[in-house]
Point group: C2
Chain length 179, copies 2
DNA sequence: ACCTGAACACCGTTCAAGT
DNA sequence: ACCTGAACACCGTTCAAGT
């Protein structure tokens, strides 16, 4: 009676993300993903011919590709609000961090990094300064989110303190690269 | 005839590290590790009763626990030379990065972070400033090394440029936290 | 075109058994 | 005490078969 939603790449990605957010990356298996989709695991291969590898690649792209949007304001202001949102996104899907930080995936992060670099370049820095700045900011973002992900388990620091610490560190970095 | 070296925890850890450095984390399995040690996989459990989990924990500790050593000089100078060495160590065992950045492992990184925080505190910062500073520096270090690890595959930037970029970013961060 | 079922070569780990 | 062998419950993936 109940028609199942048709199996699509999009539905596969979103279900996988949901599974990771709920149960962690370690419990994402093709068979379990199949169960969540109410389908045999092998059906997934019809939509993602390269199997799990391709699935993980898509998950990274989904979470990590979020370039700085066009907008008004100083470079510092724009980077500050973008960085806050990017961090939120990374934290929301913290289970994907291991993949983002680990896998070679030129596309997703590169586009994001490039957008920061372009913004700095447009704001008057030299090419080299912009490259260093983008690298510093992205390094800070990924590194601190990863550190937070590790803390989440031991539950030692309240969320508010973590936010303050992140913002204070971010201001440090912004002062250094976009003062 | 050839007496095999006795199986010890130390030899297990080092062989595992060698395996990761050579073939990548994905190819570290208990069975392959057993082969490298010229022993059945199950023998490892006698020295590491908690199995692979415990093995990975030991690997993180081995690579990531490297606190700032005591020494002379300004806070900035000491942090700068320590950070360079820490980065070298992380890059040398880049295959372990996914674990360092991923696993909750209070001990190893916490000791390292704490040593940076203590140094900043001793150099006259407030407790809060020192916490933010340590978090900023470690975030930058882990984040940029992770970014580099991802680049290594695509081989787009020469090593020297990477070193320059790292040092320039490091100076940015140091100016922000230990100017 | 889209999905299933059985099968293959791997995992980590337990547990009884050997020495 | 230290190691082995067989076994169990899982993986990802291939491949022929169904509709």
């Amino acid at each position: 009676m109940s028609q199942r939603a048709p199996l699509t790449r999009e539905r596969i990605i979103e279900t996988a993300l949901h599974l990771i957010d709920g149960q962690g990356l370690g419990r994402l298996t093709m068979r379990r993903l199949g169960d969540s989709l109410e389908v045999e695991a092998m059906a997934i291969y019809h939509h993602l011919p390269h199997g799990k590898e391709q699935l993980l690649e898509q998950l990274i792209a989904y979470v990590a590709a979020q370039p700085v949007p066009p907008g008004a304001g100083t470079a510092r202001e724009r980077l500050r609000s973008w960085a806050g949102g990017y961090r939120d996104r990374l934290v929301e899907h913290i289970g994907v961090m291991p993949l983002i930080v680990t896998r070679r995936n030129p596309g997703a992060l590169l586009a994001t990094t490039q957008s920061v670099q372009d913004l700095l370049r447009t704001a008057g820095r030299t090419e080299a300064e912009a490259a260093v700045g983008a690298h510093t900011l992205l390094g800070y973002l990924l590194g601190t989110v990863a550190l937070e992900g590790r803390e989440h388990a031991t539950e030692t620091t309240p969320d508010l303190d973590r936010d303050d610490r992140f913002l204070a560190g971010l201001d440090n970095v912004l002062t250094a690269i976009a003062s």
